[in-house]
């Protein structure tokens, strides 16, 4: 045979070691990937220097952001901003490696799930110190960007957790849309079960129980929260109540069979159940209405999530920051970075370009100014955000480090329950234990 024993052994061993090494190990070295540009040079005065700006987006947001950067550079010729557009899932891997390698972008589009991971570890700039003014922000929109009392994120737009409704599915079932100001969680179940069976769709209501936002709302209506400054602010019995409700919905066929629910969780927006008409209702964030209507064949509308008491004013809603603007604490131009963020959140120039793409502006004056320029869907959202003001509860704090994954941990344990592999009590306990251990490290 042509294969000589010795040569073969050496070759195979080399493959063994090399192969194993390159896959896992090399990926874990600090700064082994990433790259990106570093904001360098320049003086420290506001409006001077080079800035790198990273954000995740969609085609509309990419275009808007480029236009905003161009407008800003025209007004401030001494500032050079280079953009690093990205996609949500890979954005965080890249940001983590960049931060580890000391090449974090100067300006960072931030999400509520991650702000504490970075902010609590000192990776984000104290924006109040560098000229970001939140005096005109409407109530409840500043605190979401504060970690341990420091402003590390400026609210880039308001949204709120809602139910999107496929009106055509309700038509098909010959049902009117329910009154969302008086309904309870049980009413929602009955409506969902009825519309699902009459219209012949799999999901009466989709993506509801795996949503940490809805679970948070459910807790808030009972005087609890997902998190407080001590850590987890609910216990296993609260989680079990939520899981029991889910089983009740499952028995009533208000939610889809487990394999459908599990599949739905992996679908992108344009194939999601409410968009393609496989769901009557689905959990979403209000700022996504326009994006959803852009891809859905049927008209999509919005409803409030229910309350325990049947009074919308007691449903403990909140203004969520759809995203925030943060700056790296390692930036060489903190003044310039702060100046840009301040311009973005407070100037009509920026707001007139972005309108409500990133959510309704947090700055109350800008809300008024852009109102007339909004698209039809954006106007619906803006009105909704204004309407729910009497229904707001206290603003929830950002998840502490390790808490951003609460939703996915919960959904995994719920899947066990839905497939009948675990009791709600066991799943609730396992869920709470796991989140607690994630918070510890």
């Amino acid at each position: 045979m042509a294969v000589n024993r010795r040569r073969f052994l050496i070759g195979a061993a080399g493959v063994a070691i090399g192969g194993a090494a390159t896959s896992g190990l090399a990926a874990c070295a600090p700064g082994s990937s990433g790259g990106g540009s570093q904001g360098g040079g320049g003086g420290g005065t506001p409006g001077e220097g080079n800035l790198a700006l990273a954000f995740w987006g969609n085609p509309v947001r990419n275009k808007n952001t480029q236009a905003e950067v161009a407008a800003y550079m025209k007004a401030n010729p001494k500032v050079k901003i280079s953009t690093q557009p990205g996609e949500f899932n890979t954005y965080w891997d890249k940001l983590a490696t960049q931060t580890a390698g000391g090449t974090a972008p100067d300006i960072i589009q931030m999400d509520m799930a991650y702000i504490a991971e970075y902010g609590a570890r000192g990776a984000l700039l104290d924006l109040a110190k560098y000229g970001v003014d939140t005096a005109k922000f409407v109530e409840g929109t500043v605190d979401s960007g504060k970690i341990d009392g420091t402003l590390v994120g400026a609210n880039a737009g308001i949204n709120s957790a809602v139910l999107f409704v496929n009106a055509k599915v309700f038509d098909k079932a010959k049902m009117d849309l329910p009154d969302d100001t008086t309904w309870t969680w049980d009413d929602l179940m009955q409506v969902a079960a009825e519309v699902a069976s009459k219209a012949g769709v799999a999901h009466g209501v989709a993506s509801m129980f795996g949503s940490d936002a809805f679970f948070g709302a459910f807790l808030r209506q009972n005087g609890k929260e997902l998190f407080n400054d001590q850590g987890l602010a609910f216990d296993a019995s609260d989680a079990q109540e939520w899981f029991d409700l889910m089983v009740k919905y499952q028995k009533a066929k208000a939610i889809a069979p487990p394999q459908e629910i599990s599949e739905e969780s992996t679908r992108p927006l344009d194939q999601s159940a409410v968009v393609v008409g496989k769901a009557a209702m689905q959990y979403y964030n209000s700022n996504q209405l326009e994006a959803v209507n852009a891809v859905a064949a049927d008209p999509i509308q919005m409803l409030r999530y229910p309350s325990r008491t049947g009074k919308a004013t007691e449903r403990k809603a909140w203004y969520k920051a759809s995203m925030l603007w943060s700056a790296s604490s390692k930036t060489k131009n903190p003044e310039a970075a702060g100046a840009w963020i301040n311009w973005w959140v407070n100037s009509p120039d920026a707001a007139n370009i972005d309108l409500a793409e990133r959510g309704i502006p947090a700055n109350g004056e800008l809300q008024q100014q852009v109102q007339s320029k909004l698209s039809k869907d954006q106007q619906v959202v803006a009105k909704f955000i204004a309407d729910i003001k009497p229904e707001l509860g206290p603003t929830p704090i950002a998840p502490p480090p390790g808490g951003g994954t609460l939703g996915s941990v919960m959904f995994r344990h719920q899947t066990d329950v839905l497939f009948g592999r675990k009791s709600t009590a066991d799943a609730a306990k396992a869920f709470v234990d796991e989140v607690k251990s994630n918070l510890k490290v």
């Binding site: 073969f8 896992g24 600090p30 965080w92 394999q259 599949e263 994954t405 995994r412 899947t415 497939f419």
Partner: protein
């Protein structure tokens, strides 16, 4: 490499005097220098891209490293934590099932197709390419996405089953009972590269052995067992080692099919996927580095067992 060894054989005639011997030695040194020069690109790559990061990750495995803050030395904490990490144990279970089911299945299929193609059929290059195609595509993101569509509750597979009057609503990738099997199937389907290697091995078995055997009245099955298998055993061994190592490191398919969650219910939570989630999702890079080293040890142990066992069944012609 062979050119260099030929160069040194020129001098293999025995040196007679001390001076001659010294001269020889110096010349041999020159040869080696040239050799190392040619090896340099690879050596630099090995040191900078492989060994360096490996050592760094060994260090990180003893630290608490969030990527954002500097690593903090914690001794064996990460390794101790792995003992009590149930999700890690589940990930090991999933990965072991995957390796021990998919690798033998894939190799058997590869060998069977290679035997078929070796029957001297017309248009062999065409068929060889067709069968090899899935290997090129199989680990790609596009195919995993396609797989997700095909095996969805309303996917092609269920629609075909419905044509036969079955009430097919199974979630082949969304039901924890079936999800792993579907990914195993995807892996088995990419049998192309071991097949090509088998085919090359089969081509090297001299035809006269079969002629002699058939004159002695041996049947096909006997020929396969007595001639093909022993002579092919180094190739089988090579494929086995390679595929086992590869299977332990499976990532892309699981990542794409489950959308990075390892779901449903961790049923497709492969070891590497869990490592990735810990490192990049939960900012526990120290723990992830420790996990990577456990994987190296596991792969090394399995490769060692393989090599040890090979003494008993692999036949080298020389």
């Amino acid at each position: 490499m062979s050119a260099i060894s030929e160069l040194s054989t020129v001098h293999r005639v025995k040196a007679r005097t001390e001076a001659e011997r010294r001269l020889r030695k110096r010349e041999a040194g020159k040869d080696n220098k040239a050799g190392y020069l040619f090896l340099l690109p690879w050596l630099v790559g090995l040191l900078v891209i492989t060994i360096g990061p490996m050592l760094a990750s060994l260090y990180l495995s003893f630290t608490d490293y969030s990527l954002i803050q500097a690593p903090k030395w914690v001794g064996f904490d990460n390794y101790v934590r792995m003992l009590n990490d149930e999700r890690l144990h589940n990930a090991l279970k999933v990965t072991f099932i995957y390796v021990f089911v998919s690798v033998p299945l894939q190799l058997m299929l590869a060998l069977a197709i290679a035997l078929l193609l070796n029957e001297g059929m017309k248009a062999l290059p065409f068929y060889r390419s067709v069968f090899y195609l899935p290997s090129m595509l199989g680990s790609s993101v596009a195919i995993a996405v396609l797989w997700r569509q095909m095996f969805g509750t309303d996917g092609l597979v269920n629609q075909v089953l419905r044509l036969f009057g079955l009430d097919a609503t199974t979630g082949w990738i969304s039901d924890p009972k079936y999800a792993l099997s579907t990914i195993i199937l995807l892996h088995v389907w990419t049998f192309g590269s071991p097949m090509v290697i088998f085919l090359a091995g089969l081509r090297q078995i001299p035809g006269m052995y079969y002629e002699a055997a058939s004159i002695d009245g041996a049947r096909r099955w006997t020929m396969f067992r007595q001639i093909t298998l022993p002579l092919l055993s180094p190739i089988i061994f090579f494929n086995l080692v390679l595929q086992i190592i590869g299977a332990f490191q499976t990532f892309t398919q699981a990542f794409v099919v489950s959308n990075g969650t390892g779901g449903p219910s961790d049923s497709t939570m492969f070891y590497t996927l869990y490592l990735y989630q810990r490192g990049f999702g939960q900012f526990q890079m120290g723990y992830a580095a420790a996990m990577a080293w456990l994987l190296v040890v596991i792969v090394a142990v399995f490769t060692a067992i393989n090599f040890f066992a090979s003494k008993y069944w692999v036949f080298y012609g020389d």
